[in-house]
C-alpha cells in the first residue's frame, strides 16, 4: 500500500483549525509560564544569595530537586498527585476551572524556574563582589542593592542563556499533552487518530516548532552581536 500524501487536508479546513488552536494553546501556556518562571527563578536566586540560612537551604533544595527530576514525572505529580496534598475544597475549586492548563503552567514554571535561578545566580556571580559591598556602604539594603545595582547588570549578561531556557520551555510544553492540554502536539496526534495522516500532521507541527526556535535563536544571535559590538567599541 503506497502512502498517499495529503498536506491539504491537514493544513486547511477543520484540521487546519485544530493546528491553529493547538498553536494558540502552546503559545499561551508558554507565554504565561515564561513570565512566571522568570519571576520565580529570580526570587529563588536572590534567596539563595541571601545570608539567611533557612532561605538559602530552601532555595538550594528547590533548584536541586526540580532540576534533577524529569519534567514528565513532575507533570504527573502536579496533575494526579496534588490531590491528596491539597485540601478538598481547594481541589474542587481548582477542578471547576481549567485545571489541566493550570497544572501545565505550574509544572513548566517550577521546572524552568530551577534552571533560571542557576543562570541568574551565575550572572550575579559575574558581577564583581565589591559592587554589592559598595552599594551596601552607600546605605542601600541587600534587596535594594540587588534590585537597583546587581540585577540590572546581571540580566544584561544572562539574557542569551535565559532566552535559551525560554526556548526549552516552549519545546518542553509539548509534554503537557499527556494530561490532556490541547496544545500543538496534542492536536497533531488527534489529527493522526482521525485521519491517519500522522506524517503530514507531525511534519507541520515540527515545522512550526522549528520556526519558533529559529526566529528566537536568530534574535539571540543579533543581540549577542550587538552587545559584542558595543563592547568592542
Amino acid at each position: 500500500m503506497a502512502y498517499q500524501f495529503d498536506f491539504g487536508q491537514v493544513v486547511s479546513g477543520e484540521y487546519g483549525q485544530w493546528i491553529l488552536s493547538g498553536l494558540g494553546v502552546t503559545l499561551q501556556i508558554s507565554g504565561i509560564s515564561i513570565v512566571l518562571s522568570l519571576a520565580l527563578g529570580t526570587v529563588i536566586a536572590v534567596l539563595r544569595l541571601s545570608k539567611v540560612k533557612p532561605l538559602v537551604w530552601f532555595a538550594a533544595s528547590f533548584t536541586e530537586f526540580f532540576r534533577n527530576t524529569p519534567l514528565l514525572v513532575q507533570i504527573f505529580f502536579w496533575y494526579f498527585g496534588s490531590y491528596s496534598v491539597l485540601p478538598e475544597a481547594v481541589n474542587q475549586w481548582l477542578y471547576a476551572r481549567d485545571f489541566e492548563f493550570a497544572c501545565g503552567v505550574i509544572a513548566l514554571t517550577v521546572y524552568t524556574a530551577a534552571f533560571i535561578a542557576e543562570e541568574i545566580r551565575s550572572g550575579i556571580f559575574s558581577i564583581p563582589k565589591n559592587q554589592l559591598e559598595a552599594s551596601r556602604a552607600c546605605g542601600l539594603s541587600f534587596l535594594q542593592a540587588m534590585a537597583y545595582v546587581i540585577l540590572p547588570q546581571a540580566f544584561r549578561v544572562i539574557i542569551p542563556p535565559l532566552i535559551s531556557q525560554f526556548l526549552n520551555l516552549i519545546k518542553n510544553s509539548s509534554l503537557v499533552m499527556t494530561i490532556g492540554v490541547m496544545d500543538l502536539t496534542y492536536m497533531a496526534r488527534q489529527i493522526e487518530a482521525h485521519t491517519f495522516h500522522g506524517f503530514e500532521a507531525f511534519t507541520v507541527s515540527t515545522l512550526i516548532y522549528l520556526t519558533i526556535s529559529l526566529i528566537v535563536s536568530l534574535g539571540v544571535n543579533l543581540y549577542n552581536r550587538r552587545v559584542l559590538h558595543v563592547r568592542s567599541r
Binding site: N68, F80, K171, R189, T206, S213
Partner: protein
C-alpha cells in the same frame, strides 16, 4: 497515605517483571541512558567535528542537523522515529530501540555543540603549532586538540548525561517499559496512591541525577585546579 502500595511494587519499579518477564523499570531507564550517552557521544563527536570543519560540504549539513534537532521538542523526535522511521527504514524497530535512537540523535546535537565549544575554547596557536611540527590536520586534531578539548568538556558531558537520564522518561509515551511507565502501570491498577507513587519515582530519578550532577561539579573543580597548576 498508602505507602504500602509503593513498598509492594518497589521491585517492579526497580527491574520490572524480570526475571520472569521482560526487564523494565529503573533498570531499563539506566540502559536507555547509558546506551544513549554512548551512542550520542560518537555521533555528536562526528557532527561536532563536521561543524567546525572548513569544508562547507561538511559544515552545512552538520549545522542544519544541529539546528533542526535543537529546534524540535524531544517528544516530536521520539514520535518521528517511532511512527515514521519504519516508513523510511522499511522495517519496524522495537519501541525500546526506536526510543534509544531518538534519544541518541536528539542528544548528539547537543554533544556536537559541546565538542565545538571545547575545540573553539582552545587557543588558536595550538593548532598552528601542531601543524608546524609537521602533523596533518587530522593528526593534529586527534592527537593534540581533541584530547584537551574533550578533557575540558567532561563536566558538560556529565551534565548532558543528566539531561538524557531525565529525557528517557519520554520513552514511556511510546510504551517502553521504563521507570515512568512502571509507575503509571501501578498507578492505573491501584488508583489510590498517585501522590506516593509519583513522589517515589521522582526521588529515584533525583538520586541518580543529583549524584551525577555532584560528580560533574567535582570534576569541574578538579579540572579547574589542574589547569590552574598548568599555567
Amino acid at each position: 497515605m498508602h505507602w504500602d502500595i509503593v513498598f509492594r511494587n518497589f521491585d517492579y519499579f526497580l527491574i520490572g517483571a524480570y526475571p520472569k518477564g521482560p526487564l523494565g523499570g529503573l533498570a531499563m531507564t539506566v540502559i536507555l541512558a547509558v546506551g544513549g550517552i554512548f551512542g550520542a557521544f560518537w555521533l555528536g563527536l562526528g557532527v561536532g567535528l563536521m561543524r567546525i570543519s572548513k569544508k562547507p560540504s561538511l559544515r552545512w549539513p552538520a549545522m542544519a542537523f544541529i539546528e533542526i534537532i535543537r529546534g524540535t521538542p524531544l517528544l516530536m523526535v521520539v514520535f518521528w522515529f517511532y511512527f515514521l522511521a519504519p516508513v523510511v527504514f522499511g522495517h519496524t524497530l522495537p519501541e525500546a530501540e526506536s526510543a534509544l535512537i531518538a534519544l541518541i540523535v536528539f542528544t548528539s546535537a547537543y554533544i556536537a555543540e559541546i565538542v565545538r565549544a571545547g575545540v573553539e575554547a582552545l587557543p588558536k596557536g595550538q593548532m598552528e603549532a601542531a601543524r608546524g611540527t609537521g602533523l596533518s590536520h587530522f593528526q593534529a586534531m586527534t592527537h593534540i586538540i581533541l584530547p584537551q578539548a574533550l578533557f575540558n568538556m567532561i563536566p558538560s558531558f556529565v551534565n548532558q548525561f543528566v539531561s538524557l537520564t531525565k529525557d528517557t522518561s519520554l520513552a514511556f509515551i511510546i510504551g517502553v517499559n521504563e521507570l515512568t511507565k512502571a509507575a503509571t502501570q501501578v498507578n492505573n491498577r491501584t488508583l489510590t496512591a498517585p501522590t506516593e507513587i509519583f513522589i517515589t519515582i521522582a526521588v529515584l530519578y533525583f538520586v541518580i541525577c543529583y549524584c551525577l550532577t555532584e560528580f560533574s561539579r567535582y570534576l569541574e573543580r578538579r579540572i579547574n585546579r589542574y589547569q590552574a597548576r598548568g599555567r
